[in-house]
Structure formats: structure tokens, C-alpha cells
């Protein structure tokens, strides 16, 4: 293993200038995934740009409608502890708290988690259910892109070379909005999910409307449970949940691995989708 050229730009535009000059450079956020890939010998960067000193990248802000703006360099721990996040979307803080270990949460960032696009990771799946928008810094623009358009494939985002994730935004919730994140781990609490379910819906008197449901670790990206959503579209109650959840089997594409067979994961997807629906109305 050998060293690489290393930069810590102080602003987003300095970071973009560096990327323009070195299009092959790797961008570093918290550094957890990067260190693992480097040690495994899977990457051989010649230039690394760290965002750790970018001014304002680690802020958490709320707007007047309870919407959240979370800078790319915000750590998972900062989300878990943030009274601003807890006031608007405590379920998102709960999802961030399920990631790996205390130490990883202290170091790994929200932006890094989205950029890394590991389909088994927790934060991207929850952000998808909350319909989060990603602010992408392009050379001459900073558009908002829905997160499920950013997360395209295993370890692959829609970002073109030279583009950076600046922040994620979650719109404020309505008075009847409920959300839940369920993570099924087999071997230990700090493991990757075998299956995870993130759900958001409007709930009035035990009736679920406008559900948005995504599953993690059962496909190349967070998988949208469209069949389940369709079955619940006209307002569903608890007695409908079992049948609706069973439809998730066709919405997921799991792979057999150490955490279980594809068939087992499909079945667990059904079980945990039903549990997530019950969590929304409880």
C-alpha cells in the first residue's frame, strides 16, 4: 500500500476546483468505508480529497415547516443527538442509531452513507421512505435530486464525476404523518440488516393512507414496495396488513448469502413489512 496526494479543501468550491483538476480523485467523508476498501486493497487512489474541513458541511438546520437540512458531513451520532432532528423526524434519528457501532456512528457521515450507496445500509433506506432530496453540487448548479434517483445500484449513485453531495433535505411532516424503521439483524445488533423496512404514511384513526415503503438489503438499491403501497392506497386498516405485506415478495430481489437464502429473505421481507405497518398505526 502506498500514499496518495491528500487535500482538505476549506470550501465546497475549492473541493470542486480540486476535482476538476483531478477527475480521478476519491472523495472522503467520514473515512470508514474508505479505510476498509483501502485496507482490502480494492482501491488504489492517487489523489484523495477529504471534505472534513469544508465550511458549513456539518450543519443541521430546520425550516419553519419542520423540514430538515442535514449537511453531508454530519455524523450519524450528531443526527442521533440532535434536538432539531428529534423535534422533526425522531424516526430518522432512530434509524441512524441502528447503524453499526457507536464508534462507526461517531465517524461515518450521512453524506458518505448516501454516496457509498451500500444497499444494506440503514440511512439511505430510511431517507428513501422519507422522500429525502439530495442537494448535488455540480460544476454550475446545485439541484435537488430525489434520493431514490440518486441511489441507482450497488455502491453506485447517479452522480457524475466531479459532482458532490452537499446535503440531504427532508420535508416537514404533516400532523398525521407516521414513520418507522425496522431492522432485522441475525447475528448481532451491530450487523448489517438481513432485511430492513422503512415506512412513512398518513395515519388517521388507524387508517393508513399514502404509504411510502422501502426495503434494504434485499436488492441492489433500496427497493420500493410498490405492490404493498398499491394495496394500501385506498386507506387500509390493520386487518388488511397481512395480505398487503405478502405482496412485498414480488417487490424485492434478494440474494442468497451468509445472512440467509433468497427465499428466507423474501419471507422476512413479508414479516417485517407487516410489522412496519403495525408500527405505523400503534
Amino acid at each position: 500500500m502506498s500514499g496518495f496526494a491528500y487535500h482538505e479543501p476549506a470550501t465546497w468550491s475549492a473541493a470542486q476546483d480540486l476535482l476538476r483538476a483531478e477527475p480521478d480523485a476519491m472523495v472522503l467523508a467520514g473515512g470508514t468505508a474508505f479505510t476498509l476498501l483501502l485496507r482490502q486493497g480494492l482501491i488504489r487512489p492517487t489523489t484523495v480529497i477529504s471534505l472534513r474541513r469544508v465550511s458549513g458541511a456539518d450543519g443541521i438546520l430546520a425550516d419553519s415547516h419542520g423540514g430538515l437540512w442535514i449537511g453531508a458531513m454530519v455524523t450519524h451520532t450528531a443526527v442521533v443527538r440532535s434536538p432539531i432532528v428529534r423535534a422533526s423526524w425522531p424516526e430518522f434519528a432512530d434509524a441512524a442509531a441502528r447503524v453499526a457501532t457507536l464508534r462507526v456512528r461517531n465517524q461515518a457521515t450521512i453524506g458518505g452513507s448516501v454516496a457509498h450507496a451500500d444497499p444494506a445500509s440503514d440511512v439511505p433506506v430510511m431517507l428513501a421512505a422519507l422522500d429525502a432530496q439530495v442537494i448535488v453540487r455540480k460544476p454550475n448548479a446545485a439541484p435537488r435530486v430525489p434520493i431514490d434517483e440518486v441511489l441507482v445500484d450497488t455502491f453506485t449513485t447517479s452522480l457524475a464525476p466531479g459532482e458532490l453531495i452537499e446535503s440531504v433535505q427532508i420535508a416537514g411532516r404533516g400532523p398525521n404523518t407516521r414513520a418507522a424503521y425496522l431492522k432485522f439483524t441475525l447475528r448481532s445488533v451491530d450487523d448489517y440488516a438481513t432485511v430492513s423496512v422503512a415506512a412513512r404514511a398518513e395515519v388517521v384513526d388507524g387508517t393508513v393512507r399514502a404509504p411510502r415503503i422501502f426495503l434494504g438489503a434485499v436488492g441492489a438499491r433500496p427497493m420500493r414496495a410498490r405492490s404493498v403501497e398499491a394495496a394500501l392506497a385506498d386507506g387500509a386498516r390493520s386487518r388488511d396488513f397481512a395480505d398487503a405485506a405478502a405482496l412485498v415478495r414480488s417487490d424485492v430481489d434478494p440474494i442468497t448469502d451468509v445472512r440467509g437464502s433468497a427465499e428466507y429473505k423474501r419471507e422476512m421481507a413479508r414479516v417485517f413489512t407487516e410489522r412496519a405497518l403495525r408500527a405505523l398505526v400503534s
Binding site: G3, F4, V104
Partner: protein, 154 residues
Amino acid sequence: MSEQVIHFTVNGARQERRVATHRRLIDVLRDDLGLTGTKEGCSVGVCGACSVLVDGEVISSCLLPATYADGTSITTVEGLASDGELTPLQDAFITEGGFQCGICTPGQLITASALLAAHPRPSDEQIDEWMMSNLCRCTGYHGIRRAIHKAAAV
């Protein structure tokens, strides 16, 4: 160009080091500074043996790029005691059977120190939540829990 000068504090002492950019904090602590109390258990951030405090937060030193130490204040297990006086936590680990082989112990002490700083009188649940990712193959964890309760009572 593949080296970086970093400035940081370790156990209260200021350091200035030139480090190859691919190295991790644990490499600098153990190999450059001779602080071998921090152990490399799994190398992937899971076991907690390499835990250190960086600006008061528990970090896996096997996952932190050395360059990220720049501007920080780091505490390793060697920095817990002062002037040879063990902390109440370290004493409690001895009296309550908080270790056997000792390989996980530096990490346990670091995390438990951070826990007690955040929650001076932690409940069993808080202890389990904080300590759960410092793996111990010897003790079965009860001695660790007892030690933390004892240190909290001091």
C-alpha cells in the same frame, strides 16, 4: 506529496508528525508513538479493541485515517491514569473482575470512560448500550458492568 504533516495532542502532549497519507491513526499511535496499549483486534471496526477518544468521542483507531487526527485531542488508555494514579474505573476493573486476558481491556476502559463522562450514574441499559460493541471473549461482561457501576458510585 504522499505525506502529510499533522498536529494533534495525545494524552495531553502536543505532537507534530509527518505521516504517509494511507496510514491509520492506530498505526501512528502504536508504531510511531509507541503507545501500544491500543490493540488491533479485527481491523474492521467491529471488535472495539482499538478504541480511543478523539475530542472526547469513542473512535475505532483502525478506521480513522491518520490525517484525520490533525487538530484533534486524543486519549489512549495510557492517558487515563494521571501521575501513576489509576482512575476509579481502572481500580474497579481490577477489583470487580473486569478483565482476564486483557486484550479488550484498553478499549473497554476508553469506552467506559466516555460513558461515565456522559452518564455519571449509568443504568444497566445504558451500560449495555454503550459497551455492547466492545467485544470480550473472556469475562462474559458481568465483571465489566460491575466495574462500571462501582466506578460510578465513587
